[in-house]
Every structure is written in structure tokens, then in C-alpha cells.
Symmetry: C2
Subunit: 476 residues, 2 copies
């Protein structure tokens, strides 16, 4: 688990009072260090111009190989987060300062500030959070709530929300969901943590994961003591047919509706293979349905969970459809796993009961459907604009992945990914490269598709046009 933290007692590492808390174990140390530093710059905790410790010093402080730190710095310089200059050391890049921006892009007035656009995963167009509708739902929910709703609450989650979700998931995602098999959690991260704990308690030792995905979840699994063999991905999705040859795997974590980040859907054949594997071996499919509501090209494909509710743990979240700030998500759990997950969650509810009541009212009143529909139209329009703009300004760039979800993959000529990231960063555009999501156990020299992963839902409408123009301008 890695963390940046302002901390007066341990501020020796960086003179700025920003400390790097690293737990130095498990695979992916370099990726973890890189991710933690990137996040610190992105969030503004490491401010432009801050000088980072010499690689030798940091390596000694962390007790790791100096080459690991050097590689990490080099990667972040390539991506434009850091700068390295002879005699000046490694510093946080002055990305958004008007002077550099003007000098590099030929903008006219020195007063003009260029905005920094972020099209990074995890962000969303928070300007569109339906504040009045949410407050209205809160008012209705709190007004009618019985007095005892203000107590500790059922550790599985409030029954009003579980009932509303059972209806919603069955209707929209084809999930076989009874309220008593739904557990409310604070996010996919929380749900996966509970599941990992339950799997460990059952004596499982390995969870197969997709070869590309968010490193945060791989770290979560390895921190729980599970090994995470990677499944390759092709145009039909994760190669679930490889599961049979991986020995000792108790579960497989998949994003079937819209693979993150490649954007492919898991084909019906691969779904069937995954379910067959689970039935034969007693294994489990962990289905992360993070953006299943957003599909633009054809009829939404239902969740894998409907194929066999006893072999699939289904995860959904309000973070993509509404906002991460709610910290409300849900899992639909096979009956035989309920006791273990319940035990892992503990006897005390951790998710705000008032928020649960509000979300239940928001769903049952139809406000949730209306909000998702409106967002879907907006994101579909953005995706269309992205495809059209690239077709005009960079016709060689292929937009791969389905017309779905919140992100698109822009395939680049071999060897140009770092260059494109750096060029984008110089223009104040933060975007992710495919390499950022690669499983740590994959051979770094193996041929992979150079690509940018663009979260087109990450900015407000007013910033989108500028972000899109910048993106087109840095295509190789």
C-alpha cells in the first residue's frame, strides 16, 4: 500500500514536508513507486518546481535498488510529470505556468493562463453531479425514514437500498439479485478487499487478473497475500480459456462488459468458458461491472452473473454513474460465500446509512435512470466528437475498443507512446499511456500496443473542446 502524506514527524525524505510511505513488498514495486509519485504530482501535493531527492538518497531511504528509482524517474520524465536537467536534479515539471506555456506554444499574451486538462481514469465530469435532484431525494428520504434508521444499521446495508438495487440490477444489467444477497460497500475497492479476505479465509492462494488493468487492484490482491497470474487480452476479451492451465487459481477478476482499459467486450464464448471453469473447479468469477450502464453502439450485454449466480460475485458502483464522493457500491454474492463476506465486513456498518437511504430514494424515484440517460447522451456525443476530430486531424490513429464506457483507446505507432505522453504533458494535457496499466509480471520487452487511454468523461463540457483540440495536436 503506497501513500503520500504530509507529515511533520517524518518529513525528512522530501524537504517539502511531503513524505513517501511505501510498503516495500510484493511485485510491482517500481510501478507502485511510479504510480505514487505520479499521483502526488497530479494531485498537487508535489508542487511544480519541487526538487525530488537524488535517486541514490531515495533508494537508500526506501531500502530498494537505485536502478528502480532511476527507472521510475525516467518514466515520469518521459511522461512529462518530472523534468531532469544536468546540475538541477529531478524536479516536478512546471506544466501549467503561463511563461513556459507561452514560450512553447506561441500564445500571444503573457497574461493568458492555459488550463491544464486531465483525461485520466477515475475522474469524471463532476460539474454534472445532479445536486438539486440529490438534495431533493435526501429530503424525501430523511423525511420519511423511521427513527430507527438513524441507528447503526444492518452491517449488510440498508434494506431499502438493497431492494432498490435488486430491481435496478435485474432490469438494467440482467443480474439475478435478491436483496438478501446484496451487500453494500463503500466502493469496488472495499468490495474487492472483503472478497480477497473471504478467499484467503477459504485457503485460496491465487486470483487470475487481466493482463491490463488498474494497478491499485492488483496491489490490493497481492497485499491480501494472493498471487495474481495474468490472463492475456485479445479482441474477444480476456483469454479465459487459459484459466484451465493455470493451477491453483481460486477466482478470476474480469471486466466483462467493457474491459478496462482496452475497451473490448468479453465474447459470449469466453464468458461460457469462464463459467464452465468456475463450475468445474469450484472457482469464482469476480465481475467488475464498473461502467455497464454506458453503452452507445448496440443493446447492452447483460452481466456474466446472470449465467450462474452461484459462481459469480458481481460488483457495481455509484462512482461512475453518479460520483465517487458518495462512497456507495454494491456486490451481489453467491449464497455459499455470504457468511465469509459478511464476516469480512464485520458486525458494524461502515457506509453512511443516510446516503444509502438517499440513493434508494434516488433510484426508486426514477432520478437515477434520468441521470444515467443524460450522462450517456453526453458521453456518447463526446466519444463521437473524439472519433470525428481524430479522423480529420490524425487519420492514421485508430480508436479501438467498443463504443461504450468512459474511456477510448487511441492506438499509436510503435515506440511513440512515451513521446505522445510527453508532448501532451507539455501542452498541459494529462492522459494515461497503455503501459501504465500493464501487469507487473509481463515481460517489459514484450511487444505491446503503444496507445493512449483517454477518459473523455473526465472534464466538464466547457473544458472538453480545449482538451480535445490539445489531444489532436499532439498525435504523432
Amino acid at each position: 500500500m503506497m501513500n503520500f502524506q504530509t507529515n511533520s514527524a517524518t518529513e525528512s525524505l522530501f524537504g517539502t514536508g511531503v513524505d513517501l510511505h511505501l510498503e516495500l513488498r510484493g511485485p510491482g514495486l517500481r510501478a507502485g513507486l511510479t504510480g505514487a509519485l505520479r499521483e502526488a504530482v497530479r494531485s498537487g501535493r508535489l508542487t511544480p518546481g519541487t526538487r525530488l531527492p537524488a535517486s541514490r538518497t531515495l533508494a537508500a531511504d526506501l531500502g530498494i535498488a537505485r536502478s528502480t528509482v532511476t527507472e521510475c524517474y525516467a518514466e515520469l520524465v518521459a511522461e512529462g510529470w518530472l523534468t531532469a536537467q544536468q546540475g538541477s536534479g529531478t524536479r516536478v515539471a512546471q506544466r501549467a505556468t503561463p511563461r513556459r506555456a507561452a514560450a512553447r506554444t506561441g500564445q500571444t499574451g503573457p497574461q493568458r493562463r492555459r488550463p491544464t486538462h486531465g483525461l485520466l481514469p477515475g475522474a469524471a465530469d463532476f460539474a454534472e453531479f445532479p445536486r438539486p435532484q440529490w438534495l431533493a431525494a435526501a429530503r424525501r428520504a430523511l423525511t420519511v425514514a423511521p427513527h430507527d434508521a438513524f441507528g447503526y444499521g444492518d452491517p449488510l446495508g440498508r434494506v431499502e437500498l438493497r431492494t432498490a438495487l435488486a430491481d435496478y440490477l435485474s432490469r438494467v444489467r440482467g443480474v439475478y439479485a435478491e436483496p438478501e444477497r446484496i451487500i453494500i460497500c463503500s466502493g469496488f475497492h472495499h468490495g474487492l478487499t472483503l472478497t480477497a479476505r473471504a478467499l484467503k479465509a477459504r485457503g485460496e492462494r491465487a486470483v487470475a487478473v487481466e493482463a491490463y488493468g488498474l494497478g491499485l487492484y492488483r496491489t490490493l490482491l497481492t497485499d491480501a497475500g494472493l498471487s495474481i497470474p495474468p490472463l492475456p487480452i485479445d479482441e474477444h476479451g480476456a483469454r479465459t480459456d487459459d484459466l484451465a492451465s493455470l493451477g491453483g487459481v481460486g477466482a478470476v477478476l474480469l471486466t466483462p462488459a467493457h474491459q478496462f482499459p482496452t475497451g473490448v467486450a468479453l465474447s459470449p464464448e469466453r464468458r461460457a468458458v469462464a463459467i464452465d471453469w468456475a463450475r468445474t473447479t469450484g472457482g469464482l468469477v469476480l465481475e467488475d461491472d464498473y461502467d455497464g450502464e454506458f453503452r452507445y453502439d448496440r443493446k447492452p450485454v447483460g452481466a456474466v452473473q446472470g449465467l450462474d449466480p452461484d459462481r459469480v460475485v458481481y460488483f457495481g458502483t455509484a462512482s461512475k454513474s453518479l460520483a465517487p464522493a458518495l462512497r456507495v457500491a454494491w456486490m451481489v454474492v453467491p449464497g455459499h460465500l455470504l457468511p465469509d463476506i459478511t464476516a469480512a465486513k464485520g458486525r458494524v456498518e461502515t457506509v453512511s446509512v443516510l446516503e444509502q437511504l438517499t440513493l434508494a430514494e434516488f433510484i426508486t424515484s426514477g432520478a437515477f435512470d434520468r441521470h444515467v440517460r443524460s450522462r450517456r447522451q453526453s458521453y456518447r456525443r463526446r466519444r463521437d466528437q473524439l472519433v470525428a476530430a481524430l479522423a480529420q486531424s490524425a487519420p492514421d490513429i485508430r480508436v479501438s475498443g467498443m463504443a461504450a464506457g468512459l474511456q477510448a483507446v487511441l492506438e499509436l505507432p510503435p515506440g511513440t507512446e512515451s513521446w505522445a505522453l510527453q508532448a501532451a504533458a507539455r501542452q498541459g494535457l494529462m492522459v494515461s499511456g497503455m503501459a501504465e496499466f500493464r501487469h507487473e509480471e509481463l515481460d517489459r520487452r514484450a511487444a505491446t500496443q503503444d496507445a493512449l487511454v483517454v477518459n473523455y468523461s473526465a472534464v466538464s463540457d466547457s473544458a472538453w473542446e480545449g482538451a480535445l483540440n490539445t489531444l489532436c495536436s499532439v498525435m504523432p
Copy 2:
């Protein structure tokens, strides 16, 4: 960790579909089983008349000694939760049915239903939750919140709330609190879990606890792999002078402002001894300040934390002052412990950001102070009424503990606690006995004070008079 759970897949244990999920390790198995069953009856999951499995069957199912089950059943029969009749087995008591109530208390009309009153710990007068004021704060907070407030949030908690709490805790509780040393969590249970994890990561093996307290927290610590030697309690509070003779203890968990459940305050000398012990040994004081806002007799005593912020982890919560349903609490952490607690909390915030913003606004607007003041007056009045009513109807019963907090201790003649609990239960009054809170390692045959622990904040104003009358009527 124990849990009752309706679960179609594992409903074999009780014919009613209510299953008992027990993790059968650690000390206090019997107490845990008793507590879980009591809770199931109390909450209505086990309905009146339900027949429990034979002790032999349940023991076999759980893989524990039959005598453990027998003792557990006997205790619950003594408390009035269960009934045992030859030929009919052990059943959930028909506490609240009008026929029995009329027969036993001589009430006239068979139509008249007698309410069941609960004066149990953890409950509060939820009818007094300030719904309009809370909704108004939510509206103000959400209206002015920046767009990025709807994102994932700082894993330590939203800065608005940490700043508001730093001011409040310093002003009201004498806590030395900088915002950057405050961590938001979902409840004391969550905060203690993080602390236990951090202590384990540091290699600690034992946390001393008060000899009487909530078994839930003792279980939490033992589940985390920590041993929990008990500290005796006398009229000056926990005997912190015993800490020096307990070897290998890394921390001590205390309720200094108002010991739960005995109600004594930790004396200045005992506070000094605890801090000296912590300084000398490098240990930590874990200060659970659960009801520090509620003091009726004299000037509130500040938190121990102010004596040495580097040796005390301070815990506060909105559960007592406002409502558990918010699932918001806070800890103030020594700088040297911040990295470990931060790592234990993880990189992803789990507490609703919107709830945090609302609480920050609720505090800074003064609504929190007004609410606490109003509650304080109400609870003080109830305590005075309790003392006055007992003085009249049962002058031999001493009300011990300070005029503070949400509970009072009614000292009973030796050997009458079980009888009084049973008598109260027959009258539809649920109340706790002192034995319920006793540390599992204490000798059960050792002399202890028979007493009832009465949470006079647990019912609404309209129910209070009836509850008080019933309580007085069952005094031995």
C-alpha cells in the same frame, strides 16, 4: 466475529432461516454466543416463540462444547430473552404479547398492547435527530462545494471537516488537534481497527483494556491478533498503575472522560500515571472519548490527549452526539503513527465525502453546538428524573457513576442482577446487566458488583416515562 444473517444457502441451523455465523476462536466464545443470540432476539430476527436448536445439535454444528451452549441458554433464560420448558425445548420468550403482559401485570383490557422499552447501550433518542437542520447543512454544503469535491476524496478525510474538527475539539475537549493529524473514519470501530492493524504492523502483541467495557471492541482486538490483559477499575477509574507490571503491553485502551459502563472518571493521578507509562515504555494511550460532550455536574474534564499528543491516539464520534447512521468519526493521531494508520486506512477513502462536507458545515455553522446543548439538557433532565424516581420508589438502590454521559449504573444487592434483568424483561423492558460487560479473562466467581446499566438516552421523550416507571417497578 459473530453475525446473524438470513441466508437461504445455510439456513439449516435454525428452521426459521436465521443462521448463526460464528468464528470459533479467541477468548469469550460463550460470551460471544450469548451476545449474538441476545442481539438476534433484541432486533427481532429471532421472533417470539421460535424454537432454538437443542444444545446438543447446536454444539455439534458449531463444533464447540455442549456445556458452552447450555450455559449460554441458561444465561439468556435468566435474563428473560428465552424460555425453557420441559418437553417444549428452548424458545424465544413471548415478551411483548398482550395476553402474557396482561396476565402478569394485571392490566385490564386484553386489547391493550404494552410497549417494549429498550434502555440498552448503543441506542439513542433518534427521534431527536435534527432532520431539518441537517438537510439545511447538506444543502449549503453541496451548493458551495467545488466540483472536485465529488471525486474520490483524500483518503485521510475531507479537509473542510478536519479543519472544523480541529477547532471544535480544541475548544470543547482541550484536544491538541491540527487538521493534518486528524483522520476521518466511519466509527470508533473503524478507527480502532486501523489502530490495531498499525500496532500489529509495529510488532505489538498486547493492548491492555478496562476490565469492564463493550465486548465488541475486545473481540476486535483479539481478532487482530492482540492479547488484551484487563485493568481493574475502582472509583478513580482504570488502575493505570498496574500497567507497569504488565509486560509487553504496547498500548492501553481507556474511556477516561466517563468509563463505560461504570461511569467513573479517570482521576488526574491515574491520567498522569498512564502518560508517564507511555513516555517511559514508548507505549500509547488509546482514548475513546465517546460521550465527552455530555457532562452535567461540573466543568467538563478535558481529554487526556492534551497532556501529550505524541503518546495518545484520540477517538471521537458523531454516533453519540448526532447519530450512528452518519457513520462518521475521527481520530487525532501522533505524528509518528500517521504513516502506519494511513497505510492501514488504504489509498481509497471509505467515508462518504458528501456526509463529511455536511458535517463540516453543520459544525462551523454552530448547529452542532446547538444540537449538543439541547441534547445535554434533555439527558440531564432524564438522569435527574431517574435519580429522583429511584430515591422515592427504591431508596436502597444507589445510582453510581458521574452525572455525565448517556448511561447510569444502578447498584443492586448481591446476587440480584439476573433476577432484576428477568423481571424487567417480563415487563417488556430491555436493559443491560453489569455482567454483560465483564472481561472474559476475569474470574467468573470473583465478587463483582451486581448492577444494571441503564442507557437513559435510548428512548424518545414519549417512551421515557413508561420506561422509567417499569424500571422502578422491577427494582429488588
